[in-house]
C-alpha cells in the first residue's frame, strides 16, 4: 500500500486505527466510576498525544537515524509556535497559513542552527544545539519581548488586525478554524455511562500525524535513510570513501526541525498561545526522553514515548490526597493513612518521580524502549512452545 512493504503497511494501518479510534480507546472507564480518573480521552490530551507524537517522530529522524543527539529541538517548536500565533494575529484564524508558516520558519531556523552545529559531532554537537536553544529561550523571554510578549507568552487580542478574517465576533476572539470548521467543536457520543468525545481539532492533528508518520516511514526505507544510518554506524569511514556527509546530516536536521515546527504550529492551532518555556532546555530534554523511552530508531517508538510521558504529566499530576483517600477508603483507618502516605510522593506534584523511575526501569531493562517491551511480549506468545522446550533443556541448575 502506498509503496510500503507488508510489515510497514501493517504498522501504518495499526497507527491509523489507533489514532482514529483514540476517543474510544482512551476512555475505557465509565464516567463517574473510580477509575474515570485514568481516562485520557478528552480533546486537549488527545491533541497533545498526536502533536508531541509528530515532534518525537521528527526528532527520531535525526537522532534515530544519524545518531546526532540534538538537545535544542524545542527551539524549533517554539519558533514555529511564535510564527503561527503571528499569522493568526495578522492574517486569519484559519489555521492553514499558521501551520504552513510555522513549518517554513522552523525549517529556515534549523538551516541556520544546523549549519553551525553540524560542524561538530557527538557531545559538541549536543552542546551547540543546547546553547542555541537556551539562547532562543532567553531572547524570547526578555530581549525580544515586543515580538514574543516575554514571560506572559504571545497571545491573541481583540484588536489584532487579522486582515483576511475578522478581528472579533461579538466581543470575543473568533476560534481557530479550518475553512470555517471550528477546531474547538466536539461531538459527544454516549453509551450508557460511557461518554466519547470527538473533537475536530484532534482529527485534524491526527490526519497530519498520519501524514508525518507516513513520510517518516518512507524516509526510513529510502536510500537517503540508508545513508543516514551509515552516518550513524561510522561517519569517518564514509568520509574516507570520499562522501560528503554534511548535506545528508543537514537535510535530516532540517527535516526534523520542520517536524518540530509543524508540532509547534499545531499546538497554537489548538490553543493560540506561545510561551517562551516551550523553548527551555527541559522541553528539549523531554523530546529526548520521549524518543528513548519509546525506542530510538524505531518507527512507532517515539509516538508511544510521547503518549506515555504526556499521559503521566496530565493524569498522574492530578491525583491528590483527597482522591487517594477515596480509593483506599475501604481499608481500616490506620492502614489507609499509611498507604496514602506511601503513594503520595508518586502522584500529584510527584509525577516527575514516577516518570523518572519508569524511565530508569525502561533504560535498564528495556534498552530498546517500549517497542522492545512489546516485541518481547510478542515473542513470548508467538514462540511459547519451541522456547519452552529449549528453555527446559538450557536452564538446568548448574550443580
Amino acid at each position: 500500500m502506498f509503496g510500503l512493504n507488508k510489515k510497514d503497511s501493517v504498522l501504518f494501518v495499526l497507527v491509523l486505527f489507533l489514532t482514529m479510534c483514540a476517543p474510544f480507546l482512551l476512555n475505557p472507564f465509565p464516567q463517574g466510576s473510580e477509575l474515570a480518573q485514568f481516562n485520557a480521552g478528552y480533546p486537549d490530551l488527545m491533541q497533545r498525544f498526536v502533536i508531541f507524537g509528530i515532534f518525537a517522530i521528527g526528532f527520531n529522524i535525526l537522532f534515530g537515524l544519524t545518531g546526532y543527539l540534538s538537545f535544542g529541538h524545542a527551539a524549533f517548536l517554539g519558533v514555529g509556535s511564535y510564527a503561527g500565533v503571528w499569522m493568526m494575529k495578522l492574517l486569519t484564524m484559519n489555521v492553514i497559513p499558521a501551520i504552513m508558516i510555522s513549518v517554513i520558519v522552523a525549517g529556515l531556523f534549523s538551516v541556520l542552527v544546523g549549519y553551525v552545529s553540524l560542524r561538530r559531532s557527538g557531545i559538541y554537537f549536543s552542546i551547540l544545539t543546547l546553547a542555541f536553544a537556551q539562547m532562543s529561550f532567553s531572547l524570547a523571554y526578555s530581549v525580544l519581548t515586543p515580538i514574543t510578549n516575554g514571560e506572559t507568552g504571545l497571545q491573541l487580542n481583540l484588536d489584532d488586525p487579522r486582515i483576511l478574517g475578522v478581528s472579533e465576533v461579538n466581543g470575543s476572539i473568533p476560534p481557530p478554524n479550518l475553512f470555517g470548521l471550528s477546531l474547538r467543536d466536539s461531538a459527544e457520543m454516549t453509551f450508557g455511562n460511557w461518554v466519547f468525545t470527538f473533537n475536530t481539532g484532534y482529527y485534524m492533528c491526527a490526519v497530519l500525524m498520519l501524514i508525518a508518520f507516513y513520510i517518516s516511514i518512507r524516509i526510513f526505507r529510502s536510500p537517503f535513510g540508508m545513508m543516514l544510518r551509515a552516518v550513524k554506524s561510522n561517519q569517518q569511514r564514509l568520509n574516507y570513501t570520499g562522501l560528503n556527509t554534511k548535506p545528508y546530516t543537514l537535510a535530516a536536521f532540517v527535516i526534523s526541525g520542520m517536524y518540530a515546527g509543524l508540532a509547534g504550529g499545531l499546538m497554537v492551532a489548538m490553543d493560540p498561545l506561545a510561551g517562551a518555556e516551550r523553548m527551555q532546555w527541559t522541553a528539549s530534554g523531554e523530546v529526548v526522553l520521549m524518543t528513548i523511552l519509546g525506542g530510538a530508531g524505531t518507527l512507532i517508538g517515539p509516538v508511544l514515548g510521547a503518549s506515555f510521558i504526556k499521559y503521566c504529566e496530565n493524569i498522574f499530576s492530578k491525583i491528590n490526597d483527597n482522591i487517594l483517600h477515596q480509593w483506599f477508603a475501604f481499608m481500616p483507618d490506620g492502614i489507609e493513612d499509611v498507604i496514602v502516605f506511601l503513594v503520595h510522593p508518586f502522584v500529584g506534584k510527584g509525577w516527575h518521580l514516577t516518570l523518572g523511575l519508569m524511565f530508569m526501569l525502561v533504560v535498564i531493562f528495556l534498552p530498546g524502549g517500549l517497542v522492545e517491551g512489546g516485541q518481547r511480549i510478542g515473542r513470548l506468545f508467538r514462540r511459547r512452545k519451541p522456547d519452552a522446550a529449549s528453555d527446559a533443556s538450557q536452564t538446568k541448575p548448574a550443580e
Binding site: M1, F2, G3, M20, N39, Y42, D44, L45, R48, S138, Y141, S142, T145, N149, G150, E151, T152, G153, Q155, L156, N157, L158, D159, E168, N170, G171, S172, I173, P175, R184, D185, S186, A187, E188, M189, T190, F198, N199, T200, Y203, V207, R218, R221, S222, P223, D271, L273, G275, E277, R278, E313, N314, S317, K318, N320, N322, G348, K349, W351, H352
Partner: protein, 448 residues
C-alpha cells in the same frame, strides 16, 4: 527510490476510506443542549484549583491549596465557617453553592504558561470544572485567564500582581482580587517620601520579565512624581541566584536608594547580596542608604531572615490585621493547619467565597450571570475593609498595606509590621490609565 504503485482502484479505495474517516467526527451532533459549558446537573459542582505545586513558587502554591480546601470545607458547612460570618453578603449558608455540594480538582501549573493551560484545559474538558482559580505568577494568570475566556468558564485569579492581568490582558471572564503594581507604587511613594525625604536618587534592579517591567514602571512614575530621581534601571535574569555583579555598580553610582523589583527567591537573594555588600551602612550624598522592596510576602521575609528588618514594601493582606474578617480567617486556618495563612492563601480563599456568593446572588452558574453579579459588587468583611469589584476592568479596589520588616520579631511568622493602611481612594486609577492602556474586556463568554 522505493516503488510507489498507484492504481486507479487503489487510489479510489483509499480515498473512500480517508473520506469516511474524515466524515466520522461530523456525523455525531453536539450531544449537550445546555446553555453554558459544564453546566452542573447533578448534586455537586466542581471547581478547579490550578496552583504551582512544583517550581519556584511551590510554597505559595501549597498555601493556596490549603486555603482552597478550607474554603470548600466552609462552603459545604464544615469547620467554623471562617469569613462566611463576617462577609457583608449573607447568601452563603454552608449548604454548598445553590444547594450543590462543592467538589474540587487540583492541578499543577509548574509556573509555566503551557503547563498551566494544559492543566486548566483538562479540568474544563475532563472534570467539568465550572470555575478555575489559582496561580502565583502573572504570566500564568494571564495565560489561564485567556484560556478561560475562550472556553467559557470563570477565572478567579490568585496571586498575580502585574498591571497587565487587569490592564492590557484583561478579559471579561477573569477577575482579580489581589492588588497590582500601580497600587504598590501609589501606596508606597508617600510613605517613602515621609521616611526618606523627597530628594532621593533611586537605582532599580528589576527581574527581567513582565511583572518586573510593570512594577518598575509603577514605582518609578510614583516616586518621580514626588521628586525622586531615577538614576538607573537594570534588568536581572529571572534565573539569577547571585546578584553581586549587579550590586557592585550600585556602589559606584551616586544613588542613595536601591529598589528591588524582585519576587520570591530572586528577592531573597538580591536583598541578601545587597546587605552583604554593606549597602545599608553606606552614607551617600550625606544620607543613609536605603533599600525598598515593592512587593513583600511573609514567605519571602522568612527566606531573607534578618535582612528584611526595617525595609519597606507593600502587601495585599497580613494575618496580623485586627478586623473581624481577618481574625476569623486566621483562626480557622490556624486551627486546621497550625500556622497563620499567607497573603496568597487569603486572596485565594476570598476569591472562592466571592465566586460562590456571586453564583448564589445571580441564581445561576452561567458565567455571564456571574460576571454581572461580580461587576460593581461592593462588599466588606473579607479582611481588606470595604472593597469594590470595578466593572470596567474586573479589578478589586481596596486598602493597600505598607509594611516594614519588623525589628524584633516574636515568632517566625511575625516578621512584618504594618506601617500604614493606604485607603482605597488613594490607589484608585481610571480604567484607561496609561499603565493599563490597551486591551479590552470583550464580552462574557458562556461557552456552549
Amino acid at each position: 527510490m522505493s516503488k510507489m504503485d498507484l492504481t486507479r482502484r487503489g487510489v479510489m479505495k483509499t480515498g473512500a476510506v480517508a473520506g469516511a474517516g474524515l466524515a466520522v467526527p461530523t456525523i455525531f451532533t453536539a450531544g449537550s443542549a445546555s446553555a453554558f459549558v459544564n453546566e452542573p446537573t447533578g448534586g455537586s459542582v466542581t471547581l478547579g484549583f490550578n496552583v504551582p505545586q512544583s517550581g519556584p513558587y511551590a510554597d505559595e502554591g501549597a498555601d493556596e491549596l490549603r486555603a482552597y480546601e478550607l474554603a470548600v470545607e466552609h462552603l459545604n458547612g464544615g469547620g467554623d465557617g471562617g469569613m462566611m460570618s463576617t462577609f457583608s453578603s449573607k447568601t452563603l449558608d454552608g449548604t454548598g453553592i445553590m444547594g450543590k455540594k462543592v467538589e474540587y480538582v487540583t492541578g499543577d501549573t509548574q509556573t509555566k504558561s503551557d503547563a498551566a493551560r494544559a492543566s486548566a484545559k483538562s479540568m474544563i474538558e475532563k472534570d467539568g470544572a465550572i470555575m478555575i482559580t489559582g496561580g502565583s505568577s502573572s504570566g500564568v494568570a494571564v495565560a489561564v485567564q485567556a484560556l478561560c475566556q475562550e472556553a467559557g468558564v470563570i477565572f478567579m485569579a490568585g496571586l498575580t500582581h502585574s498591571n497587565d492581568t487587569t490592564g492590557k490582558d484583561k478579559k471579561a471572564n477573569g477577575f482579580r482580587h489581589f492588588f497590582n503594581s500601580y497600587m504598590s507604587g501609589a501606596a508606597l511613594a508617600p510613605v517613602l517620601a515621609n521616611a526618606y525625604g523627597t530628594d532621593r536618587k533611586a537605582y532599580h534592579l528589576t527581574a527581567d520579565y513582565n511583572w518586573g517591567y510593570t512594577t518598575e514602571e509603577a514605582i518609578t512614575s510614583a516616586t518621580e512624581a514626588m521628586g525622586w530621581e531615577t538614576v538607573e534601571t537594570v534588568k536581572t535574569p529571572l534565573a539569577a541566584t547571585d546578584f553581586s555583579a549587579y550590586i557592585t555598580p550600585v556602589l559606584q553610582s551616586d544613588a542613595d536608594v536601591l529598589v528591588l523589583n524582585h519576587y520570591g527567591g530572586n528577592m531573597v537573594n538580591s536583598l541578601t547580596n545587597a546587605v552583604q555588600f554593606g549597602l545599608r551602612e553606606r552614607i551617600v550624598n550625606g544620607k543613609q542608604f536605603e533599600i525598598v522592596v515593592p512587593l513583600y510576602s511573609r514567605l519571602m521575609a522568612r527566606g531573607a531572615g534578618e535582612n528584611v528588618k526595617g525595609i519597606y514594601g507593600s502587601t495585599n493582606w497580613h494575618w496580623s490585621l485586627p478586623d473581624e474578617g481577618s481574625k476569623a480567617f486566621v483562626k480557622s486556618f490556624g486551627t486546621k493547619y497550625g500556622f497563620p495563612p499567607s497573603q496568597a492563601a487569603h486572596t485565594c480563599y476570598v476569591q472562592t467565597m466571592l465566586y460562590a456568593d456571586a453564583v448564589q446572588r445571580a441564581g445561576s452558574f452561567n458565567p455571564c450571570a456571574v460576571v454581572e453579579a461580580l461587576e460593581g459588587f461592593e462588599f466588606d468583611g473579607l479582611g481588606n475593609g470595604p472593597t469594590l469589584y470595578r466593572a470596567g476592568d474586573h479589578q478589586c479596589f481596596k486598602d493597600v498595606l505598607v509594611v516594614r520588616g519588623k525589628e524584633n520579631p516574636t515568632s517566625e511568622f511575625d516578621l512584618l509590621e504594618i506601617v500604614e493602611i493606604t485607603p482605597a481612594g488613594q490607589v484608585t486609577y481610571p480604567v484607561d490609565h496609561p499603565q493599563f492602556a490597551g486591551g479590552a474586556l470583550g464580552n462574557c463568554n458562556p461557552g456552549a
